[in-house]
Amino acid sequence: MVVQNRTKTTTIQPEKVIWHLFIGGDLHAFSTLFKGYYAMLHNYGYKISANLNLTEDCLQDFFIYLFENRRNLGEVHNIKAYLFVSFRRAIFKSLKRERRFTDLEGTPEALSKFEFSPEEIAMEQELVSARKEVLAEILNGLSKREREVVYLKYYSDLKTKEISEVMGISYQSVLNTLQKAFVKLRNSVETQVIRQILQR
């Protein structure tokens, strides 16, 4: 919001105000945050776990935890990135708890799914003119880390710096991963296109 008072101009983000009220214990503000971020986090959690019940239970516990520990959250500069980071941690924790009995070896990260379905890929693509099914298949051929970076950048609309915070890797690594992912994508798409032409 901008206020013009002769020469003076101040800018504040309404979201910061809402966060501030939430820290003060305001349940309206808490509800606003809940409604604003629920779908985004739900999507992300389900992507990681491929388990709807686990995602929804985890989300409930996560928001209750946020409210009850609101005074100990420390300074939060970027609300969206903060919620993604802490929810990611929470979902991996419940995945670990759930899989403790079935899989003693693998880390939960290794067990995360991160698969794309054709339905969640838009019809109109600027990058390639491949069918949704083909594009989903190509995306699923990327490494898990590459898929998560692509997901966070284009699905959740996070900035490179935010992605590095969420995934706990350096800014350079995010960039590197992104670059590799798109080299692979480009190659796969070209292979697919050539295959299609040959089939005709």
Binding site: M1, P14, G25, H28, A122, Q125, K153, Y154, L175, R186
Partner: protein, 334 residues
């Protein structure tokens, strides 16, 4: 990728002119980068890789149903309450009041609908009325959606649900009836709006009616007998008290908009802003320092909650707003 290449890639990605070239959205930038590529053939791989990253993948995110979100929110609020009680023996937070307001605005609509349904013989009319500071989302029987702002009322006959009367402020998304091409009507003290299927805003505060059209086209029948056709983006203000058109045309000079529970102010004075809040929450404003009235505001504030709304205004205007004796008193805080 070596360090120099990575640095170059990063530079390209953060260059707005490069992004314009990738998206083919600015002739000058397109021309510049095409020449640049010709002159730097060794960089072509990085350039095209960067282009791919800029264009990216377009996703179609799965939405989560709003009723599901509200249900989950209720469950979470219930848990918070229960745990607070278990811990302290009594609720620390005044929850009953809050939960009632939070427990989805639709519930308010439901109660009103139930009230209306419970007295079918007493009236053939259905009335939805909001209290101060209460916003409700309505779905009319024909599929039209209406967002009714605080301190407002909408009524319609059971036989013709596409002929409604409004007092106060509402936003309409009228569902077109493609088969019958039946019209939709909004009546106010000052005029009658004739609609086929479109989106528009109506405000009847201050003994006049303001209509702003966002999409489609509508006809206005003013109470003085004159008919007017409106185009998208246009705004008409008419008062039947003075029988004059106060404004008509494209731009409202200093506008305020109210859409989907958010006030959008465009270079509007604090005095005007407080007047709108006064209508919605029933709290008139009193300026302790008259010079504050002329401060102007630009931006959006959510209006479902007075506290958030006031807090946002305070922070941007450097004022302190205190609610006292059903009034909002504005002090200078600088």
């Amino acid at each position: 990728m070596d360090e120099a290449t990575q640095a170059f890639l990063e530079k390209l990605l953060s260059d707005s002119s490069f992004r314009n070239w990738a998206k083919n959205s600015n002739e000058n930038d397109v021309a510049f980068w095409n020449t640049w590529i010709k002159d730097n053939p060794d960089k072509i791989d990085v350039v095209y890789n960067a282009k791919d990253i800029v264009l990216g993948i377009a996703f179609q995110p799965h939405g989560v149903d709003e009723t599901h979100i509200n249900k989950e929110l209720d469950a979470v609020l219930g848990q918070i309450q229960k745990r607070a009680q278990a811990r302290d023996g009594k609720p620390v937070i005044q929850l009953s009041k809050t939960v009632k307001r939070v427990a989805s605005l639709a519930a308010v609509g439901l109660i009103l609908m139930l009230v209306a349904l419970n007295f079918p013989r007493t009236s053939d009319e259905i009335v939805h009325k909001t209290g101060f500071g209460e916003v409700i989302n309505l779905k009319l029987p024909d599929g039209t959606s209406v967002v009714l702002n605080g301190n407002s009322e909408i009524r319609y006959g059971k036989k013709n649900t596409r002929d409604v009367t409004l007092k106060g402020e509402a936003y309409f998304k009228v569902k077109p009836q493609n088969e019958t091409r039946a019209k939709f009507w909004v009546n106010t003290e000052d005029l009658r709006v004739e609609v086929y299927g479109t989106q528009f805003h109506v405000n009847t505060r201050d003994s006049k009616t303001d209509v702003t059209l966002d999409e489609g086209s509508i006809n206005l029948l003013l109470k003085n007998g004159i008919a007017k056709k409106m185009l998208p983006g246009e705004y008409v203000s008419y008062s039947n008290v003075d029988k004059v058109v106060l404004h008509e045309g494209a731009e409202k000079p200093n506008t305020y908009l109210w859409r989907e529970g958010t006030y959008v102010f465009n270079n509007i004075s604090l005095k005007e802003v407080m007047k709108h809040l006064g209508h919605t929450y029933g709290l008139p404003a009193e300026f302790m320092d008259k010079t504050l009235e002329g401060k102007t505001l630009t931006g959006g504030i959510p209006n479902e909650n007075l506290k958030i709304c006031l807090s946002a205004i305070e922070k941007t205007t450097g004022t302190r707003i205190v609610q006292q004796d059903n009034k909002l008193i504005i002090y200078n805080d600088q």
